[in-house]
Symmetry: C2
Subunit: 370 residues, 2 copies
């Protein structure tokens, strides 16, 4: 009896009305919208009950009701209907993914932008979780007597390179030797295992007084560190101003500054980075950060391979359209996962660079380079 069907219906009308209009709704309007047979007075009684349960709130004595965060939570958990994406929407995502999403950096960037454009909310995008990645191979390419290119490949099949210049000369055989040494002693090691001691020992053994090994290995460490480190990127903060709840400049500004800083999105993405779930909704006060206390965050994660994960998310007013946003977000995340697992890229009519021969072959694994 705590939650009769009627109450659920009422709650739902309140939530959906508020999502749509951002205005409180009164008993009379509810009676009409809900298609219930009872009168507004009855609804008033129910409203009072729902308020007592903590699911509704009243901005002031003589206003209608709006959902409380708990109200949203119940709505999201039990009442919300799955939103189906329209064909246009899926098309849009697909085409956007086909163009220019090749490198990891760009994926983070573009995915965020795309999400923001599609939801009309600020969006963010991040990657993380590469701490157990190792270097699987080194190649040193001689350029001239005082510079060479170091190419390293990681266990998750990414390749990065760097042009290294030396103050003194080096010969091809020396470089070869160095290359072999690197491949025998410095592969299969994670960032943590590439200790300075190891380097010193190897340096000595090689009889190299140039610190050449350190130079290359330190580059390798940079690469691993970069993969490890999560890059967060925010886009579309301007969308905030569209929502009536951010007509208050002070409020809008505060949130914007927070979003443009380096917020701890990675924290809230944790359960997803650990693979415990792949979408997550944080409603208002459920957020840890003070700045997000009356804001909701919707997150979806995707797989980059080798234990690495990416997360895309949306930030908006608590009354955001959860059904629609989650639908878009998880569709996009799914597609990103597919893109990273299948080298052939998404499942769409490809448009290769027009001038190309029908390449018999393939595409790269993910991205390249530092």
């Amino acid at each position: 009896m705590a939650m009769s069907e009627r109450r659920k219906k009422i709650l739902r009308v309140v939530v959906e009305n508020y999502i749509e209009t951002a205005e409180p709704i009164g008993s009379k309007a509810i009676a009409e919208k809900a298609g219930l047979t009872c009168s507004s007075a009855t609804i008033r009684n129910e409203l009072a009950a729902l308020e007592k349960l903590g699911l509704l709130e009243q901005p002031h004595t003589s206003a209608g009701r709006i959902p409380s965060p708990q109200g949203y939570r119940l709505y999201v958990n039990e009442l919300m209907e799955q939103h189906k994406l329209s064909i246009q929407e899926t098309e849009r995502i697909n085409t956007a993914m086909n163009s220019k999403m090749r490198e990891l950096d760009r994926v983070i960037d573009q995915a965020g932008k795309l999400v923001s454009q599609m939801t009309n909310y600020p969006a963010f995008s991040l990657t993380a979780g590469g701490s157990q990645i190792t270097i699987s191979r080194y190649d040193l390419l001689m350029v001239n007597s005082n510079s060479f290119i170091a190419v390293v490949m990681t266990s998750n099949d990414r390749v990065k390179n760097k042009l290294i210049r030396l103050p003194s000369d080096i010969t091809e055989p020396q470089l070869q030797l160095l290359n072999t040494l690197l491949n025998t002693s410095f592969t299969g090691k994670s960032l943590a295992e590439l200790s300075p001691e190891l380097m010193r020992v190897a340096e000595k053994a090689a009889g190299s007084s140039y610190g050449l090994i350190s130079l290359v290995v330190s580059f390798a460490m940079d690469v691993l560190e970069d993969m490890n480190q999560s890059i967060v990127r925010t886009s579309g903060v301007g969308h905030l101003l569209e929502a009536p709840e951010y007509q208050d400049i002070g409020k809008a500004h505060k949130l914007m500054t927070y979003l443009s800083g380096e917020p701890e999105f990675s924290n809230m993405s944790l359960p997803m980075l650990q693979g415990q779930q792949d979408t997550r909704i944080l409603i208002g006060p459920e957020n840890v950060a003070e700045e997000l206390k009356d804001t909701s965050v919707v997150l979806a994660s995707y797989d980059i391979g080798e234990g690495m994960k990416g997360v895309i998310g949306v930030v908006g007013p608590t009354r955001m359209d959860y059904a629609r946003v989650t639908a878009k977000l998880s569709y996009l995340a799914d597609n990103l996962s597919k893109m990273f697992s299948a080298p052939q890229q998404p499942a769409l009519p490809q448009q290769q660079r027009p001038a190309l021969n029908p390449a018999p072959a393939s595409e790269q694994s993910g991205d390249e380079d530092v």
Copy 2:
């Protein structure tokens, strides 16, 4: 007589007051601030004259005066004093540049962010002008029988790579052959010169039926295209809300959306990309874009080497503090130029990765990779 010293002084007070307070100023207040010996009535006469000259404006009959765009222009051209950066400010720029600005992509990103933080205005950052860059060298590194790494080096000493997978097997000698062919026929060519015909011919000559050449060359084309293409990045749009002129949400939102889109900053950067000047101030209506008509833009360019240029810029209300902004911008731009020309990085106490041996050597030229 059109512009007596007194008038200049008055104009200057009006501009500087407006920059500081965003409020019109009246004759009496000017008399005090300017330290002139005359009375407010005299000033009123002068004000009327300055208004007739089009240098001042009056929001409404009984308000004080504010500068017109022409007024700003005159101020910027003749009256503005060079602003000296404080030690703290230069320090801040220096330290920010030392950390994590290694790769080009990141430079664009970080420089924009830094500018925005230092000026408290939205900032943008872009690079352009690599159309005559060529590929100077190819290396193909065998990974296994159906994949290899393609490494290309460009004429401006950047190196990019890509892991290429094949549906069918390939042998080391085949790869070698391919490598040689690429280096003999496809180096020293700009993007425009890498025509599909050339590829077809080479493909035939090589007897390769795999389209392998296309695969690698098309990657090279991507690389050149990427360098050619200007990447624009905007940061700190939220700062707009701090300015009183953007307390109007509608206005703020419009400008923000414009800035977050892909605005033609590259157009206004043109004179700078062509090396005709290295800072530029566009005041209000001097801007081409409708959205920027009552906004000012300050730009500074820096050299990336090999004809490539980068531009950083700031967008703000017409009353922005030009002296301070230009000072910061050009200091940063200078430092960026230095950083790109000298491999050793800026002129500051370096902190290398702590665990490293005192590397006898150097650092990379600029950045790496795609």
